[in-house]
Symmetry: C2
Subunit: 457 residues, 2 copies
């Protein structure tokens, strides 16, 4: 008969302790496969516990498959493997920890003071108390948020967009992934070169062919685009990353003509267009597209916070129908609570106020940074288009970008070079810094300059 | 000379009104491509505005590419297309609006009272006031959240997991999409049939071959699995949706043997395992896997709210390395704020309390629903495994599922049939309801029964 010291059970309930011990005996082979367990009554008497306790243990063994119940015959040990589970998780190499840089010109992490925390907390409390965070969200995103986005696009970008066209997604990369699935694996993607690397990483991972297309002074060059055989082109005409090129209207129109002639789609990535410091915003490709060729996309990473992970795209009618048919099964990937709070932030005027405050802050910061960096001995020239949260600084150096990067890292300085963003290497990109200035502290520019002088000594 | 009625500008600044009128003239062809614009001074005198105003308009025209500045020669109208932007967004068929069902046995939407709103609001305020929502989040997710998840898995599922193995993602479908990318397009996926349809939709959209594998009474049948040539199998051994089958230990071990022999990967989708009402939770496949063959995944959709869109997976070391190498470029798709709040909710004991409250609520609700539905004249039998938020109800009917569904919809009742979840039709699935009871109101079961009696009359 099975005999266990029930005093050794510690704080476990009796039935559970009994279950564990019998399971261990089955696992170790002490109880062989097919062996009959004692009847519940007999074991209960033997161990001086109640029949209910034994019953509980046997039922659990049966539920998990350690034992089988045969009607009117009792319980039998099941045939099981004798591998024991690991007691500890595996020992793994840790992720690369984030480095505490003394100066970081690459990430452009934001000043926390820029985030409208008090308003955000109030709106969150409001939404929670009204129970709106549990409202079911359609696949394209919360209607109130899509309406607020369409209104904002109309008022500040002059775009005529219906909320039906808006698809909310969990950040830019998630939207790239949706677009890749929407356009199909056969679609060849033409990508700006140099360009934002995640674009080609996502499309490439999806398995689409990506063709790097060089830029001229006006944006993507037309001849290589026509020659590429692309079915889709991904562009940032408002302010290209990292060169800062602003695509003028004639080139925009020529790109739309390409789309018409090649039966192609233009993905207009309007990344960072909100930070235009001179004059009015430039009309989007989407707003001058009368043939439904343009997918417009943007996120709130630049304007609110990169850690928000909310973006959206505006689909032309033909692609919207395809999206609903082929991808409409995807649930909206953004939490309902966040969509509700953001909808109220946009709709209630909080966003507009926040943007104008941030714009002012970055305009002043940019002027201070430009003024200081322009007259540094290491600066050969600055390319600044009066827009965006970065500019290019050509260096007065013969050293390779790689040597400079290594020296910088040794000094705790993180740099971004134009050459890193190129798919096709080009010596004209060398010796050029991409200065992401949004994370700099206006009060410590002298220290930043000193550190850089040490790097470029 | 260009002549405009500046009185007609309404509330627009002078320079902007002037810019718009000149742009319109270029667009309409009134100002031909290459034509020289009047000098700033001359136009200012002619229109009786300041030179600064004209300067502002010209600079904006230049920035957008409507005009070109030639050094020492002035501004010239650019060559542009004459298409005008649409003034209104396109008229689109609206999305299917959510129907206000009188009775919904399909979605299982939750009672809002179940959500821990007060605690959630407090934790959110805390995180916002500490500025933690702006902390940068590594690609695998917030370390504090991954630690809390690993602790929870250890304490309540008996799993030995290192936080390094945890990858946080924006809900189940997003995790499926990551796994598809991780396992590669050549991988054949074996999927439970019947099964949760989004699994095959996501893997299928990714372009992987999906093989439906039938179930026997213990879960996925082994012979067709071996014959399928699959490299990956996606399973819910804890409580299969929709059949409710619980896979016993011997079958679990056999599945691990398959993985070893076929060099395959098992994706253990532990969906809804928290709601086991009889006995202890069953050990996961992951916890008896000593060879690193199992990817464990789960979400907080069932336990907190489907609108949360947060899930996670636990990768074995070999796949973790591959993930970091090939997919580590993806930023975490879950907002930092939500990750921080959830980490505190898990770590501070709020989750445990919430779970035990919810479990109790659903146990009582389930008992009441089972008791009532079992003795309905339309119920032939009920298959209930003492687990999960759904059970199967076999109907006393000869009518087709489709006819029943239509009659139900006419009465405002939304039903789910077992047959809908099958990739390969099988007459044994007919006449069986999947009762997702979590959204039912315990106080209105009599009305629900009356409605169903009308459907199945």
């Amino acid at each position: 008969m099975l005999t266990y010291d029930l005093e050794a059970r510690g704080s476990l309930p009796l039935y559970e302790y009994l279950y564990r011990r019998i399971r261990d005996d089955i696992l170790s082979g002490k109880l062989a496969a097919g062996e009959r367990l004692p009847s519940k009554r007999a074991l209960a008497e033997h161990l001086r516990v109640s029949v209910v306790t034994v019953e509980g243990a046997y039922r659990q063994l049966e539920a998990e498959g350690w034992a089988e119940a045969r009607p009117r015959r009792g319980f039998f040990a099941a045939r099981v493997d004798r591998r024991l589970p690991a007691a500890e998780g595996p020992v793994l190499s840790p992720e690369e920890p984030p480095r505490p840089w003394r100066l970081d010109l690459k990430s452009g992490r934001r000043d926390p003071a820029c985030f409208p925390s008090a308003l955000w907390a109030r709106l969150t409390r409001q939404v929670l108390s009204e129970g709106e965070h549990l409202a079911s969200v359609p696949p394209q995103g919360l209607p109130a948020l899509r309406e607020a986005i369409a209104r904002d696009l109309r008022d500040f970008r002059g775009m005529a967009v219906s909320p039906e066209q808006v698809v909310v997604g969990a950040g830019a990369e998630y939207l790239y992934l949706l677009l890749a699935q929407l356009l199909g694996r056969e679609a060849v993607f033409a990508l700006e070169d140099p360009g934002y690397p995640k674009i080609r990483q996502v499309y490439g991972k999806w398995g689409a062919a990506c063709r790097p297309i060089p830029l001229d002074g006006q944006g993507m060059a037309l001849e290589p685009l026509y020659a590429s055989g692309a079915a889709a082109v991904h562009l940032s005409p408002a302010h290209h990353y990292p060169t800062g090129i602003v695509t003028p209207i004639a080139r925009r129109q020529a790109l739309l003509r390409w789309a018409e002639e090649a039966d192609g789609v233009i993905i207009e990535d309007d990344y960072d267009s909100e930070f235009r410091f001179a004059g009015r915003p430039i009309p989007t490709l989407q707003s001058i597209d009368s043939r439904g060729r343009v997918v417009y996309m943007n996120t709130f990473s630049q304007t609110i916070s990169p850690s928000m992970r909310v973006g959206f795209m505006v689909l032309p009618p033909r692609l919207l129908e395809r999206w609903r048919r082929e991808l409409g099964f995807y649930a909206s990937a953004v939490p309902a609570l966040e969509q509700q709070v953001l909808a109220r932030f946009l709709g209630g005027g909080g966003y507009e106020q926040h943007l104008s405050r941030t714009r002012k802050k970055y305009r002043l910061l940019r002027e201070a940074v430009l003024e200081r960096f322009r007259r540094c001995p290491f600066a050969a020239s600055v390319t600044d288009r009066g827009a965006g949260l970065h500019f290019l600084l050509r260096l007065n150096t013969e050293e390779s970008d790689e040597a400079l990067r290594q020296r910088a890292e040794g000094l705790g300085v993180r740099l971004a070079f134009l050459s890193e963003y190129a798919a096709v290497p080009n010596p004209t990109y060398d010796h050029t810094l991409v200065v992401n200035y949004a994370g700099l502290d206006a009060g410590h520019l002298a220290e930043a300059e000193e550190l850089l002088a040490e790097v470029f000594r």
